[in-house]
Amino acid sequence: MIGSKQSDDAPARLDQPAIEARGLSKRFGPKLALHGFDLEIERGGIHAVVGANGAGKSTFFRILLGFQTATAGTSRVLGYRSEALPPAVRGRIQLVTEEHALPGWMRIGALEAMHRDLATRSRSNGGREAAWSERAWREVAGLFRLPSSQRVRDLSRGERAGLNLALALAQRPELLILDEPTLGLDVVARQAFLEALLFAGEHDGSTILYCSHQMDEVERVADALIILEDGRVTEHGTPESFWRRIAGWSIDAASLPPAGALLPEALPGLLQTRAIDGRLQLTAIDRDDDFGACLESLGAVDVQRVPIGFDRAVNAYLDRPAA
C-alpha cells in the first residue's frame, strides 16, 4: 500500500489505540464470518494473531482497513473510523501478505526509488519525522542480500519476502500487518525475516500485527497473543499468561475407557486427549493438581503431570471440543 499525497490533514492520534473493534459482526448469506468480535490493541509491540483458517482473520482485516463494511459494530484503526479512513492514514498502514506480490518487471533499485520518492513527497505521516527510513531499507536489504540491479521476477520467494518487508519497514508504518509472511520460506529466509522484523530500523512505537501458524515464531517474537476462533477473539494477553493456564497430564492408557469416552462433563477444562505409546496424554486449561485427583477418581492409573511446550499448549487449546 502506498501513501497518497496528502497534507497533514489527518494528524497521528498516538494517544488512541492502534486498533479498536467493538461488537463487530459480518454476515455472508447464512454464515456469520464475525460475531461479537471485540479487540483493542495498544500502541507498540508485536501482537501475534493465531487461529484456524476461516476464524475470521481476513474478514476482520478487510473491515479494519475499510475495504468491507461490517454488518454491525464499530471499528477504528490508528484512531480513525475504518469506514471513513483518510487516505493519509491508510498510507501509514503497511500490509505484507504471504503472496509477496510485487511488479516482476521492475528492478529492485527502481522499486526502492519509487517508494522512497512517494513516501518523502507525500509528507503524510501525520507529523512523524522522516517518512522514509534509509536505515531500515539498508538493514533489511542487507540481510537478504538484495542487489539493486536484480529484477523482481528473478528473485526467490525468500528474497521477495525480504524485499516486501524492506519496503514496508522503510516507510515507517504506524501499523504493520503481516499475514503469514513466512509461509513457504526456507529456514534461512525465515531466520532473516524474523531478524529483520525484530531489529531492522528504528521501531519508534510502530505497532505490529503478526499472523502466523508457526508457533515457534510466535514464541520468539510476540509481546502479546491473540487467539481468533469462530469469528471472535477468545484469548488476548501475554503468551506466557496463556501458557501458564495450560497443563499436561499423562496416564496409563489401559486404565481409562477409550479416548472418546473422556467427556468434558466428567473432566471440566479438558482440552485434548491423545494416545501415544500406551500412554494417554491429556491437556487441560485452568486446572490445578486437582485435575490429577479427578483422573484418579475416574480410575486412571499412574497419573503424572507433564510439562508441555507453547506450541502444544496453543494447539491443544485450538483443538478443544466446542462448548
Binding site: Q191, L198, F199, D216, R220, W243, R305
Partner: protein, 137 residues
Amino acid sequence: MLQITTGDARPIFRQIVDGLRARILTGELPPGHKLPSVRALAIELTVNPNTVAKAYTELTDEGLIETRSRVGVFVCEPRQRLSDAERQRRLDEALQRFVHDVASLGYDAEVVLERTEHALERLGLERGAEATSEDIP
C-alpha cells in the same frame, strides 16, 4: 554462548535466566565479565528484545548481574542482594515446585537427595559449613 529452543516446556525468558545463572554460578562467566547488550543477545538468539530485557531484570534482582549506565551489563561480585525473607520465600517456592515434580516419579528419597546434591555440586554449591575437603570424594 547460550542456546534456546522453542517448543521447550520452559519459556524462552526462563531458558535465558537459567542458562546465564548456571554459567555465572559455575564461574564460566566470572565477576566483572561483560555480557552482551539486550539487543545483541536478542539478535544472537533471534528473540524479542523485551524477552532478554526481562531475563536481565530477573538476574539483576537476583544480584547476579548489574547494568552500569552507558558502559554495559556485567557479572557481579558474589554477594547477596535479596533480603533474608525474600531468599527464604524463593527457596520455599522452588522447593515446592521441585518436590511436586519429583513426587510422582516414584524414586526413593535417598536417590533424589543424592542426585540433588550432585546437581548442586555441578553449580559449585557444596555443603559448605559442615563439609571439609576430606568429606568430598
